[in-house]
């Protein structure tokens, strides 16, 4: 091994430093990158809804024409209309979605997104896109999935299981009312479901924008919920939660049959709606008997079927 003279070594370092300094001056390091950027090619994605396959590349023009105005060219929810909208359009780069059949904190299924496009979101500016063909919707679902790398890394959650709906009875309504009180749904939705609970005024979504809890009492025969209009949809909403909003998942704390009782009670909060629940209530003179807690020896698994439990 030859010895390296300190002087030579120092010389080397000095000249290296000079070269580095010179090249950085001469290079484009200090100058901002001026000029247009070619659009980044998005990674192609697919969607699968039943036997339909959607392709993101086929949705590019539809997305620009119909979606980008609100959701933004980059899918970040910053379209040119966004400043005028409340609630704000979804930011697809977060991959957090309100209407899912899957547990809180998981990606929705392709079908969930497909249904959301076709159904629209009530009390928002998202219309019912029933002008699209099924193929167009499937292609748009695939397109939405190009905006977040989560769609490549993660799989959608397992859809929750919804047991068959039992018959509506005064007992189920009464027990549902008991649960509405016990689970403190009224803290946000209000004692009469008018969306005026004690916590309603301070609610914000995950981007700190003010958000209103759902007003059940405004419901009429054609009323819709955020994620659908059927009894199954109500069941799904409170079991999965509405991600990105203050509405939590109750999947770990409600058992399937209890959940149906809660659905039946929630229907009675829609006082102007004609349905089985209100017929039963009307026949009883609009009085719900107080639910008496039964002593049950069994403790069935909650609706989310988690393995956790214990104390």
């Amino acid at each position: 091994m030859t010895s390296l003279k300190p002087v030579h070594f120092l010389n080397g370092i000095l000249s290296l430093a000079l070269i580095a300094a010179f090249s950085s001056r001469a290079g484009a390091q200090d100058v901002p990158d001026v000029g247009p950027h070619p659009p980044q090619p998005l990674k192609a994605m697919e969607s699968h809804i039943g036997n339909l396959t959607g392709h993101s590349k086929d949705a590019a023009s539809d997305y620009r024409r119909y979606c980008a105005g609100c959701h933004g060219e980059l899918g970040d929810g910053q379209g040119e209309n966004t400043v005028w909208l409340d609630p704000k359009p979804r930011d697809f780069t977060m991959a957090t979605f309100k209407c899912r059949s899957t547990p809180t904190g998981t990606l929705p299924t392709d079908e969930d997104l497909f249904n959301t496009i076709g159904r629209g979101l009530t009390n928002s500016n998202m219309p019912i896109w029933n002008t699209f063909t099924r193929q167009q919707r499937a292609d748009l679902v695939a397109y939405i999935k190009t905006f977040s790398p989560r769609w490549e890394k993660e799989k959608p959650g397992d859809p929750i299981k919804i047991p068959a709906e039992p018959a509506v009875t005064m007992e189920s309504i009464s027990h549902g009312k008991y649960l509405f009180t016990k689970l403190e749904c009224w803290k946000c939705h209000g004692p009469q479901g008018k969306g005026d609970g004690p916590s309603a005024a301070t609610l914000t979504d995950s981007k700190d924008n003010p958000i209103r809890p759902y007003n059940f009492a405004a419901g009429k025969d054609d009323s819709r919920f955020k994620c659908g209009s059927t009894n199954e949809d109500i069941y799904k909403i409170f079991i999965t939660g509405v991600d990105g909003t203050p509405m939590p998942s109750f999947g770990d704390v409600i058992q399937p049959n209890d959940a149906w009782d809660l659905v039946h009670f929630l229907r009675t909060l829609q006082v102007n709606r004609h349905g089985k629940e209100n017929e039963i209530l009307k026949a009883a003179g609009w009085k719900i008997p107080t639910y008496v807690e039964k002593q049950s020896s069994t403790n069935p698994a909650p609706a989310n079927q988690t393995t956790g439990g214990g104390n």
Binding site: T104, S199, M247, V253
Partner: protein
């Protein structure tokens, strides 16, 4: 190579205790300037929580102690340490008196997190994760603990939408070498084998500070962090 190994073998009795016990990096976290005055919290809408507090409750975005001590600072090895496995025991995050105990909970990626509700009211636990996945779960009184774990290192803001004053943090680390300052403002990172480390101190309102520290044996190196407090 062979010579090196021989030396290692000879040095083993000296080196192994150093590896087992290693060096320690410790110090204090303080602030300069005037911190923002914490806002009073009115728990009037939740009497079961309000009655648990004999003294006035305030927000906890900046918690200080005597001699300019800064609490709730996560001090951790951000570079240099091996990515050790998550400890087997769970960490616990308790909702009590409509507050989070602790206000800042540090844990390892993949470590079990148990969220407990010790109150007589429902809470919803809403970690606003951005790198990890955001979720939001209801936890009525008497429910079993919510069990979860986080995959990616991140400082995750946690809130309860029902009680808007409830605000805390999950500090998800990819290292086991972390410490959260308490009411004496001090931290200690023991069991560090010889090496070069980057130490980061994180505060929810004042951001991060870093320092580079080299550990050669079983010594204790002292470094102090000072944050500039903002009055608003």
């Amino acid at each position: 190579m062979r010579a090196q190994r021989m030396w290692l073998a000879l040095l083993a009795p000296l080196v192994i205790p150093a590896l087992m016990f290693g060096g320690t990096i410790s110090g204090k976290v303080t602030y300069t300037g005037t911190p923002a005055k914490q806002k009073p919290i009115d728990m009037g809408k939740e009497p079961s929580c309000a009655k648990q507090h004999a003294t006035a409750v305030t927000t906890e975005t900046v918690v200080t102690g005597p001699n300019n001590i800064l609490e709730n600072v996560v001090v951790y090895v951000s570079a240099g340490a091996d990515d050790a496995n998550a400890p087997a025991q769970a960490v616990t995050f308790t909702q009590k008196g409509c507050q989070y105990l602790p206000h800042v909970l540090a844990m390892h990626t993949g470590q079990e997190l148990d969220v407990l509700n010790a109150d007589q009211t429902s809470h919803n636990i809403h970690p606003l994760a951005k790198v990890n996945r955001e979720w939001n779960k209801s936890q009525p009184p008497g429910s079993p603990p919510i069990k979860d774990k986080w995959d990616q290192p991140e400082f995750v803001e946690v809130k309860c939408n029902i009680h808007p004053w409830m605000h805390g943090w999950f500090a998800v680390m990819k290292t086991n070498h972390y410490s959260v300052t308490g009411d004496n403002g001090s931290f200690s990172l023991p069991n560090l084998p010889p090496g070069k480390y980057t130490i980061t101190a994180w505060h929810e309102s004042y951001g991060t500070k870093t320092a580079d520290v080299t550990i050669t044996g079983t010594e204790t190196k002292t470094i102090d962090f000072s944050f500039t407090a903002k009055p608003y």
